[in-house]
């Protein structure tokens, strides 16, 4: 069964450093998303991406965040200068269309020290 894959599974970084989280969405999906989950809290929307551009972003997704689809398969989330409060599990998701089933990857646990 097709699945969303994310790498790395764990990332530890120093505050102020840049990190890139990588995702390979399901191949025939057109809509791509990043969500995050702080330990014990809700899954929170960060950004959606369609047709090679951001379609929607949340207040969390400030200037320190960016997304890119550098080729036909990868979808990346970059945090330019990490803060302690960026520590969370980051999930990539994809869907065939908006308002359709979201399929999630296993997540990248980001720890900012």
């Amino acid at each position: 069964e097709p699945e969303v894959t994310q790498t790395p599974s764990h990332q530890v970084t120093q505050m102020g450093q840049e990190v890139i989280l990588r995702c390979v969405p399901i191949s025939n999906h057109l809509y791509f998303y990043w969500y995050r989950q702080i330990l014990g809290q809700k899954v929170e929307f960060l950004v959606s991406f369609y047709n090679n551009e951001i379609s929607e972003k949340s207040e969390i997704f400030d200037d320190q965040f960016s997304v890119e689809r550098p080729d036909g398969s990868n979808f990346t989330l970059k945090i330019r200068s990490t803060k302690l409060e960026d520590s969370a599990m980051y999930f990539c998701a994809s869907s065939t269309d908006r308002n359709e089933k979201l399929f999630f990857g296993s997540g990248t646990q980001l720890s900012v020290l």
Binding site: V4, Q6, Y31, Y33, Y35, Q41, K42, V43, E44, F45, S48, Y50, S55, E56, S58, F91, R98, N99, E100, K101, L102, F103, F104, G105, S106, G107
Partner: protein, 113 residues
Amino acid sequence: GESVGLHLPTLSVQEGDNSIINCAYSNSASDYFIWYKQESGKGPQFIIDIRSNMDKRQGQRVTVLLNKTVKHLSLQIAATQPGDSAVYFCAASRDSGTYKYIFGTGTRLKVLA
């Protein structure tokens, strides 16, 4: 703002019994709902979905009920098994004006042997 909430943080059931997990949403414009299962350290796994033109939908051992009048949905799991132990989230979206899904906090289901 929009919210999706769950009534109980933890639900304990005996193996073989039926489980009912509830969720309330605030936005009457929400028209698509998904239940996810999340095991420790993993991404949300799709269980079942329902659109607002339906009141009930059944899957394998699971049923989702939607009451639009009171903005409430429930997930029923028949003959609960140890493998059902996880956190269950509901998520809501709407077809117009947004790409994001709003997630609830989650209910932890514990299956007792």
